[in-house]
Symmetry: D2
Subunit: 297 residues, 4 copies
């Protein structure tokens, strides 16, 4: 299969189950909603050594938010609901309540699982917090030095999927990276998914475990490392000198499929891209398989 | 004391000791160095509930970095050297090694304390990492899917200071926030300091502990909350309806003084700012006191 | 009438007829499409002393453009079709053909009026240009040092409207400016309109002609200048110290109405905004009147 | 000669004399100073069909400007002083006076040639403008709807140089463009020069005149067009598929040399760049020759 002359390998991405909370952050302006979102989702690339996986889903215009202000949807992900609740509370309390002009709303109001994160944030008010109806939502108002912070009482979460992915294999770093940037820009316009790595891009695609060091949970995916060609470790097609991976988490399978499709098509418009592939571990990592040819067929 | 018609209160900021590691991240472009820096310093506003305090110090041009590429200095801070080493390794491994095209260099090569973070990152290479001299530094080369990652073997750290601060008290949120933005932009041009909160700004200045909830380590600084005027809790000057705090960490006292001075002067150019103050806790929090009138005299 | 506690004055904006060409610029990435768009629409605030009025309409995702790359719609406006054709050719030739990786497509393919701008750009190829079908459009391919430039043969234009507007009157500059920024961000998400002034905002709302200098076509709208209160020249409500105008051009009346509505609602979410008004000249300027109460009713 | 493995061709850039005015724009924040600068320097790539050449020189911190606010230096260039004066007045009046919160200061106060641009802008005040000493400069205060605009009375200009340049020849568009971006970022940190093309980059390097069309002042530099290899027109080294040119104007020879050096060195750090060259016309265009090997030796 080819798109725009770029070969699409007949392989699949392998994802695994993760719990996903979704929050809508609004602020006085798009820029400040984004600052809060960035801080709240930082140090959140992989649960291997980060306290959570987290990322920015998309921005929304003022007319689509409860308080009529510009907004950003973010997702916080963790391996179980208990860990997720802790991550959510810490990140909302330390990175959004502290951020200028923000408010938070439930991004999954219809989910079965609901955390009372907004209620708990209220204790920061030291007794001066109060409940109120705010833009049709049950919320907590907390007096701050900047004015009042509004937090919807509950934040919903679902059984989502982590590790949707594809590889962008190019003639050189700049080509692969430009294609990765274009793919991430396009995925950021879709609903339901995040790309949790820095700028949405992974430079260091990994394999599960290690051949050599028992204490390592993940190590470099050596078969895809272009500098290891001499001894035959690297099995990339000739001409490929740089590969970026786009990792996609999401609230459900359909949204990940949609974002993989959008991202791959966008990446294939960049000159110098030779092949699109994907990362899997023969089923060792997880049950969610996304076959590229099915997705793009 | 007045600057540009803005009253400078006769008070002081109270800081506390913290350990500070400093890293220079370089990348193919300024933009990508910044993406890595943002991810690596996210979820890093306050050690109260974040795993570390972290922030972006400043950008540096290509001709000031060892590898001749654009760079960003960041700082990672924690309460002891042991915790700091863990934070540093996790954030470099998960947020910079994973970021496109980056390399890391020691930002404090002359400090007595040195962590072998670069060496430890090497294990990700699963045996294919190697040591080399890179741009005059002892470094580890790790094969990645994007190409090779270079990490200087050691990263230095010093006894620094956290909690330098000042308050910007304005006629409304937009005025206070604009002044805060201007102050942070100016502080980002100085060396040696970071402003770890979202976009460099704190919306929710706090006091130590709580009057009401024993389980809370910090709660809203109610005396500076403009919405609590009616019962006399708020003691802000008349006309002030919004206050932002700029919190500054740094590698030494001089750099914090320099950044406080630069930030305050810049904030005072914004129309609608009524007073500059600072946060202290009567010595309960820490031994480092920064008197505004001395700084600005 | 009030929105969010902000008074909406019972007045109207007065626009005038203008010719509008609309171009879709695509590029390798959103960022580079935007760079080309900015250069092509610069020095284009008002036909009083600019060679054209011009602005960025909105960005579009890759899946909505003919060549599957990210895009930006821009509009170029002038007082007659002949002048407009000259403006369009010069701006496309000097600012888009010269910009990295761009292509241009007809943004009004169904308009009656069509300029052969793409065809004329072809002469830059010095004989090596050629016609082809490109993504379903009749286009000209021009060899450049970066590779090949693609320009759709024709660019459409319509009888549009200039000078749609509203005033944002606030407690201070930062409040009014923040509201202006928020309004412009929201308008930039709508189709069919541009805000041609710097960053979308006018600091210097004007009146037609001058009381004192015959050679001036427009001078400061003194009745709305907050610093002229002492002698009664300024008739603004008490408390207003800064007013920004948002000027909106568009391809038709409906799109301007839509953008005025979106912008005003967004502006009214910002604390410190006291009143929304609009600029008119008693019919001296033009026949297109936009009554605020009708729009927002 | 090689830098980082990139070949530096033994050739020279050929520039020509131009008149250059230099303005310091300050504003409430760095962001708004930049918005004004962008509008004022737009539609300003080449005097061939633009009314002027114009660009952003560099940003300056608040503590380096007369009014203690963040600033941006811009340059406006034209072929004679009379044309330059017109360009300067129109661009300052339409794009900076109209921009939120800006002030303008003389960027070349010691130049012999001085235009009374600030004085002339004053007429917009319709009799309410006045002269005053502002931050140590003789200035004109003009009442606006946003508040008061301050313009230093005079703006200086000098005999400068246009057309300093170098070519970046790479393996593909993304590599060449990334190198161009890096070069422009680095040049934007230098004083005295501008890169007037979109985002600082030229996609369409040209030759003087045309082989085929007498009415064309400049046409595509066919010898450097990678798609014209088959008939031998293109004489680029094998493997080069995309070339970007960086054009540099400046106030004097030394500043152009400095920026060429900084830009070329930065470009050579990007993987996939094969050669650096430069554009000249055998002396037909102008007397200012910049030999690459001398510059970089």
């Amino acid at each position: 299969m080819e798109i725009n002359g770029v070969q699409i390998e007949d392989t699949y991405a392998e994802g695994f189950p993760i719990k996903v909370a979704r929050v809508l952050i609004t602020a006085i302006s798009q820029r400040w909603a984004m600052e809060a979102a960035r801080e709240a989702t930082g140090f959140g690339t992989s649960v291997i050594m980060c306290p959570a996986e987290a990322g920015i889903e998309c921005t929304v215009p003022a007319n689509e938010t409860p308080d009529g202000r510009p907004g950003v949807y973010i997702q916080i992900c963790n391996m179980g609901y208990s860990k997720l609740e802790g991550s959510l509370l810490a990140r909302m309390g330390q990175c959004v309540l502290t951020a200028p002009t923000t408010a938070i709303f439930n991004g999954l109001p219809e989910a079965e699982k609901q955390f009372d994160t907004g209620f708990k944030l209220g204790f920061f008010g030291d007794g001066y917090q109060c409940d109120l109806d705010y833009c049709g939502r049950k919320a907590c108002r907390i007096p701050l030095m900047e004015g009042d912070f509004m937090a919807e009482h509950t934040i919903g979460a679902v059984d989502g999927i982590a590790g949707g992915n594809f590889y962008i294999e190019g003639q050189n770093q700049a080509a692969s990276l430009t294609a990765a940037e274009v793919a991430v820009d396009e995925i950021r316009r879709q609903r339901g998914t995040i790309t949790p790595f820095p700028g949405g891009v992974v430079a260091s695609g990994s394999k599960v475990g290690s051949e050599k060091y028992k204490f390592m949970k993940a190590t470099s995916n050596l078969n895809f490392c272009p500098s290891l060609r001499e001894d035959g470790t690297c099995t990339l097609p000739a001409g490929v000198t740089s590969v970026y991976e786009i990792v996609i988490n999401g609230i459900d399978r359909a949204s990940i499929e949609n974002s993989m499709r959008a991202g791959i098509k966008a990446a294939c418009t960049v000159p110098g891209i030779l092949r699109i592939s994907a990362g899997n571990f023969g089923g060792k990592l997880g049950p969610h398989h996304f076959h590229l040819h099915e997705l793009l067929g």
